[in-house]
Each structure stands twice: as C-alpha cells, then as structure tokens.
Amino acid sequence: MSAVAFDQVTKKFGDTVAVDEFSLQIADGEFMVLLGPSGCGKSTALRMIAGLEEISSGILTIGERVVNHIPPRERDIAMVFQSYALYPHMSVENNIESPLVANKRAKVDATERTRRVHEAAETLGLTEYLARKPGELSGGQRQRVALARAIVRRPEVFLMDEPLSNLDAKLRTQTRLELVDLHRRLGTTFVYVTHDQVEAMTMADRIAVISDGRIQQVGAPQDVYEKPANLFVASFIGSPPMNTILGTLQGATENAAASVLTAEGTLAIGHPGSAQPGTELVLGIRPEHLHATDPVDAPGAVRATIQNIELLGHERHVICTVGATQMTVRQPNDAPPLAIGQAVSLHADPAEVHLFDPVSTERLN
C-alpha cells in the first residue's frame, strides 16, 4: 500500500501537452478517480504512474520513492486496461499467474503461486474457467481475468483505465459494486480513469476532474457536485447538465438575498459571495433546483416556453427556451401536467444557485 503524489508533473508529446503541471496527492488506500472528457490526458497521467510514459518534467512519487526513472516492473503496481490486454494464447490460469512468473521481483515458489492464483480466481469467481483461453470467455469474464491478474501480485497501487467501458450497462453497474467491494477488502490505493461521471460518483473516495491536461478540481464526489469549482466542472458533472444563463448581479447587500437580472427576467439567488453588484456573471442552476410555474406569479423568475418534455418513467425533463438559451427542469412524474409550447415562469431555489465569473469561469459564491 502506498500513496501516490504528482508534483508539477508535465507530459509532452512533441508539441502537444497531454498533462500540464499536475499536482495531486493520492492518499494511501484511497480510491481516486481521474475523470474527464476524451483526450484530456487522464490515461497519460495513469500511464505515467505505471511507468509506461516517461515524465517530461516534475516529480512523481509512489510511497517514499521518486519513480521518475524506475522501470514499470520495479514499481510494484498493477494495471487493468480498457481492452483487458489478456494474452490470447495463454489459458486464464497462465494469464493470471503471468506477473508472478515473469517478474523476477515478484517471483514466488510454485505452490505459493498456485495458491495465489486460485485465491484470485476464487475472489473473482473464475475458478471454473481457469483452463479456458480468453477468446472463450464473455466480456465480463475477461474483465475479471484482467482484475485477477492485477490482484494476484498484491501491488502497492492498482491502476485502471476505463475497465468497464466494454461491458453492457447491466454488467457495468454490477461490476462497479464489485470493484468498490474489492477496494474495501484489499484496502489498496486505487487510481481509476474514466470519462463516465456515474462511475466516478459511485465509486470514488475523491474525484480529480481533468480538462485539457489540467486538474480542474479535486474533492469528494458530493463536494464536486455541490460546489463545482468552475464552469467546466459544473457542466461536466451532473446529468442532465447544469443550466447556465448570463446575468447582472443586483442589489446585493451583506446579508440580504440578492437577485440577478437576465434578459428574460430577474432570478432570486442566495448569498452572492465575492461578487460585486453590477458585475456580469454566469448563473448555474441544476435541473432539480429549477421549477416551472404558471407565468402569472412571476417575481424572481424568468419567462420561458416549453420546447420538449422527455419522459423517463420515474421523472421527466422539461426543456424550455429562455430567450436564446435552453434550460432543463427536472420534475417528478406526478408534477402537474405541462404542454409543449406552453409559457411558464422558471424560478430557482435561491440557495442552490451557483455563480461563476464569465471570464475566468471560476466559482464566485
């Protein structure tokens, strides 16, 4: 078990900066998820921990050791790849025992090896498939073989690069739970890369949200959801995504509730934080914190027209046009019926409105 620390780590591929001055402390035994859109550099960051990419600058430590120049096999880490990367010509058993056989440092005697392989296979429910080749397994089973190969060596750190993305939705949900369970049992540091916020939210102790090679925010899932540090995090996390609308802050005094003037009306908000009256800002409102009512009782609300209604069974998403922007309202299914084309007023829970600087995109309240 080990902590992992990035200290101003940068990775360049020629002129492309894939990872830009990363600084991140991953605690011993923590389940850390690196979350970000495609191409943001999360795989590259993970591969640097593995030693599969050289570090252009900065310092990477695993435990007490600076590992910048330590080859992968001496790092005592295990990795699960998106494609699983199983040896197609070897049986499941040989795949699982591969790190114990190939790595001189991890080498153990034959009985111990068999014991560990069977233990790992048992843990992941693979005992009956040990003699098969990966080609004769289902996607989920292959994924578990990859996991077994990772746990059999008892590494300091587990690295996983989108390990669930090749599974169907149901299996993914199930495996998510199994991974959390595995983490709890092993107590080892997990670094997990994904672009799927649900995976991040459900599994992580902490999430590092990454965009364009930079860390945008690090925090517990709930914190990141409730207090996104900037517009990128705000819009990346949450589904449907957070509504945003441009406005000007009005009449905020130290304690009184403030309001924001938008093109389509005034919205009541909570504490404006550091923002000064008269400044332009971006309001962020999660769909569940936005409410649609009849247009007559409209103080502190904006005018909107219903464009579409998506029924999801347990809830519905009402998509409205507000001037030139679009806002989504999330409602329980038993809310009063609405019709497409109907005019409505939208008002927000004042305490749940997020304010962002339109230029720096940083959070203001």
Partner: protein, 317 residues
C-alpha cells in the same frame, strides 16, 4: 482517437484474440470455403443444364492441368524403348515398377534427395531464426540508424540471387565453399521477405498487450518467446511453409554453386538423371515424381499456410 473508445477497444480485444487463435488474414480466407459461393436461383431444367455445363468445363480444365502429370507417370512407369517402339501411346507399355528402386540405386537419387533435405532444413531454420530476431529489433526496439538498417534489408529485394549469381559464385569459390552445404546455403540464411512478414505480425500485437507484459515484468527474451512469437505463429507458420517451398525448389544457385555430381541437389540432378542412356529415360521421370513428393505432402498437410504464405509474399515456387 476519433472513434468511439468502446468500439475500438472491443475491436482491439477481438483482434487480440484472433491473432493467436486460428486466424486467417482477412485478405485470405480459408482456401476452400464453399459456403461463400454465389449462385442465382434458376428453374429446375435450366439449373440442371447449367450444372452439367459447369462439370464439363471443370473436367476439361482438369484434363489440361492433369495431362502433363499423367504423361509423367506414364513415361516413368513404361519401359522407355518398348514405349517408343509402341508408337508412344496414351497408355503405359510394359510397366516397370522397379524404376524407383533403380533411380535410387543407379542414379543415386537418395543422395541428392538427402542433400536437398539438409540444404532446405538449414535454410528454413536459419531464415526463421534470423527473420524473427531482425523483425523483433525492427518492431520492438529503438536504436540509432534504424531507418537505414530497414532500408538495407528491404533493398535486398532488388538483389535476388539471379542478379548477383556470378559474383556470388566467385565469392563462394574464393571461400573454397563450392560443393559444400555452407556454399549451398550461405546466401539464403536471411530473407527480407521473412523479416518483413514477421515484423508485420509483431506490429499487429496491440500496444496494450505490450504495456501489460511490461508491467508483468517480461524481459525482451521472455516477451519474444512467450508472447510475440506465439501470437504471430500463424504468420511464422506460413513463412516456414513458403520458405520450405522456396528452398526445396531452388535451381539456379545449387546449379552453379556445385560442379560435382555428388553435390547436386535433387532439382539440379533432375537435369541429368537418365539422360545419357535412352533405355533409362524413365529414371529421370521417376526422379521428378520423387522430387515432388515432399511438396505434395506439404500441400496436403499445410494447405492453409501455403495459401496464406503464397498470398502474403512474392515467393516463387
């Protein structure tokens, strides 16, 4: 990067599974897979007529292909002088089954067959070894002047033995290697085609798998023998088969790298066996049959590899 990561990764693993198991190059499906043939529906009578016509055409073509072989068998088995005096008919005349025995005895066919086997095995084994090693260097190692080395390898495609024949004969002569197994094999211990083919096979191993093996702690040699070679065994197998074909069938080099009958490979020996005495003409024909048997066996047992090999590289038979 532009494709859906899920799809591309799924393909990756599929490809990965294929690579080691009985894959066939997408370009070269199973040679005789009849399920794919297309026929348009026809009425019963027209269908019957068409089928009959097809069989007639196929039979006619078979006769064209087989007639020379039939003539070879006929001439090998018939007693030469009696056959000629019978007016060279299309049926055997006074069959001599012991012609094969005599070919081995009188014409020392055994020795030249043996030499051919030795030469072929040396060449095939050496070519596989040198090709695998060189291919590994090109596929998995970084080193200075890599591009130049690769150009030098590919450049030898411009220098087949036919081009360099006379200079090579002089070189072998100066090395005192005329009439020797080294002399017969040295110029063929390496082949650009083998390096090229096997390198392609190695490059087909997915990057994730290479990374995984690196994390697992594989060193170069272990990776080569436990991962790279097993995963490329289809390509290596095809290469072995076509290398055998090429080495066994060689004529020009063994013809000029030897000047003594005892060092003639079987292909070269075919030129002279039975040609001195008209009464022994059939020995030469029998020898030609014997010389083809190893390849016939290859054709029967390694059909798939032959097809893949012949399609993959320009190797003449």
């Amino acid at each position: 990067m532009a494709t859906d990561p899920t799809v591309s990764a799924a393909n990756e693993q599929n490809r990965l599974n294929q690579t080691a198991e009985k894959i066939v190059d997408p370009l070269v499906p199973a040679p005789y897979d009849n399920d794919k043939a297309v026929q348009s529906p026809r009425s019963g009578l027209r269908n019957a007529v068409a089928t009959t016509t097809t069989y007639l055409v196929l039979t006619a073509l078979s006769v064209i292909v087989l007639f020379p072989i039939y003539m070879l068998l006929l001439r090998a088995l018939s007693s030469p002088l009696k056959y000629i005096s019978a007016g060279q008919p299309l049926y055997p005349v006074s069959i001599e089954w012991d012609v094969f025995n005599r070919a081995f005895g009188q014409a020392s066919l055994g020795r030249s067959m043996g030499l051919s086997f030795v030469v072929t095995f040396v060449i095939v084994i050496a070519q596989v070894l040198t090709s695998v090693l060189a291919a590994y260097a090109f596929a998995f190692l970084e080193f200075p002047l890599k591009k130049l080395a690769f150009v030098l390898v590919i450049g030898t495609l411009l220098l087949p033995i036919e081009v360099t024949l006379i200079a090579n004969v002089e070189i072998i002569r100066k090395l005192h290697l005329l009439n020797s197994v080294p002399g017969l094999t040295f110029p063929f211990l390496v082949t650009a085609i083998g390096i090229f083919l096997i390198r392609q096979g190695f490059l087909g191993i997915p990057r994730d798998l290479r990374d995984a093996s690196e994390l697992d702690g594989y060193g170069h040699l272990r990776f080569l023998f436990k991962v790279a070679m097993p995963m490329s065994k289809a390509i290596i197998g095809s290469f072995i088969v076509i290398a055998f074909l090429g080495a066994w069938n060689q004529y020009v080099w063994p013809r000029f790298a030897t000047d003594r009958g005892a060092w003639q490979t079987v292909q070269v020996a075919l030129r002279t066996i039975g040609s001195e005495n008209p009464g022994e003409l059939n020995l030469g024909f029998a020898a030609a049959i014997v010389a083809s048997l190893p390849l016939l066996a290859l054709l029967i047992f390694f059909q798939r590899q032959i097809v893949r090999g012949l399609t993959a590289g320009a190797v003449k038979g």
